[in-house]
């Protein structure tokens, strides 16, 4: 019986090492950040899971009773791995991709939710933001925020201070969107072009 458990532990450790190496190899070899995310977020969590189960079994084998710390770590990692992947993908989308290019279009015909406010809100801010603004502290904050953000791809720039500007921008934005759409469809016609990785923000059509 003991030798069986030992064999199980050894198998788990080796499988975990294999998964860890596969994840990191994928991280090193895959061509693009969006594909690179797959390696670590899946394989490495599997590797950690294997190691943790092996350690639980080994403590059980040593006769020290059942320990549940490992389950905590496993749970924590399984909860947080998708979150970090989501955050990384989002920041990559906002920093290194032109809007609506290089990402597949959603079925509804709208843009992605991370780029634009959902239609139900009619482009207005959610209540929490409005409440925060009414509490006072920022007449100057929107400008500051705008200056601080690395790319002007905030999904929903704080509206009141520059409502007029936003209004003026709206038709231009629509035009730019149409242009982008035309471009993407043209691209699709000419077979799949590789997704542009580092598109310089200056040439973005929305500046018009």
């Amino acid at each position: 019986m003991e030798i069986l458990i030992e064999a199980l532990i050894a198998l788990l450790i080796i499988a975990a090492g294999f998964f860890g190496i596969v994840g990191s190899y994928g991280l090193a070899k895959l061509p693009d950040l969006m594909t690179r995310l797959h390696g670590p977020t899946k394989a490495t969590t599997l590797g950690i899971g294997g190691v943790l189960i092996a350690s639980m079994l080994s403590i059980l084998l040593a006769g020290k009773g059942f320990s549940s710390h490992e389950l905590l770590i496993t749970l924590f990692l399984f909860l947080t791995a998708p979150l970090t992947a989501n955050f990384l993908a989002k920041s990559f989308l906002h920093r290194h991709m032109k809007r609506r290019e290089g990402v597949p279009e959603p079925h509804s015909g709208r843009s992605w939710a991370t780029f634009e406010a959902p239609p139900e809100t009619n482009g207005e801010e959610p209540n929490s933001l409005e409440a925060a603004r009414q509490h006072g502290d920022d007449a100057a904050a929107p400008a500051q925020l705008e200056a601080k953000t690395p790319v002007s791809t905030l999904p929903n720039p704080p509206a009141k201070a520059k409502g007029a500007k936003a209004k003026a921008k709206a038709p231009a934005k629509a035009k730019a969107k149409a242009k982008a759409k035309a471009k993407t469809s043209a691209k699709r016609a000419s077979k799949k072009a590789p997704p542009k990785k580092t598109a310089p923000k200056k040439t973005a059509p929305k500046k018009s």
Partner: protein
């Protein structure tokens, strides 16, 4: 049997750490580097737990739990900084 498996596991995760370092050095964008750091934290946790099995103690679980939490929070903070240019607004 377990010791052999443990050494194999150590070797695997060491190679994985080296691959992550390669990506950390090379990574064309900042997001790549953050991802590499996150993966390094996870591989470090694996090595810590393997060492715990090797020593036969349960001391290293607390350390690895702390590692997991700090790694997650630092990754989220990095991403927040990349997105908004600020961490706590």
């Amino acid at each position: 049997m377990i010791t052999v498996a443990l050494w194999i596991g150590f070797a695997c995760f060491a190679v994985a750490l080296v691959l992550n370092l390669y990506r950390l050095y090379l990574g064309p964008s900042i997001a790549d580097r953050v991802l590499a750091l996150d993966t390094m934290v996870i591989n470090g946790i694996a090595i810590l737990i393997l060492y715990g099995i090797y020593e036969g103690t349960a001391v290293y679980f607390e350390a690895s739990l702390l590692f997991a939490m700090v790694g997650f929070i630092s990754t989220v903070a990095y991403c927040k900084f990349m997105l908004r240019g600020d961490i706590i607004e």
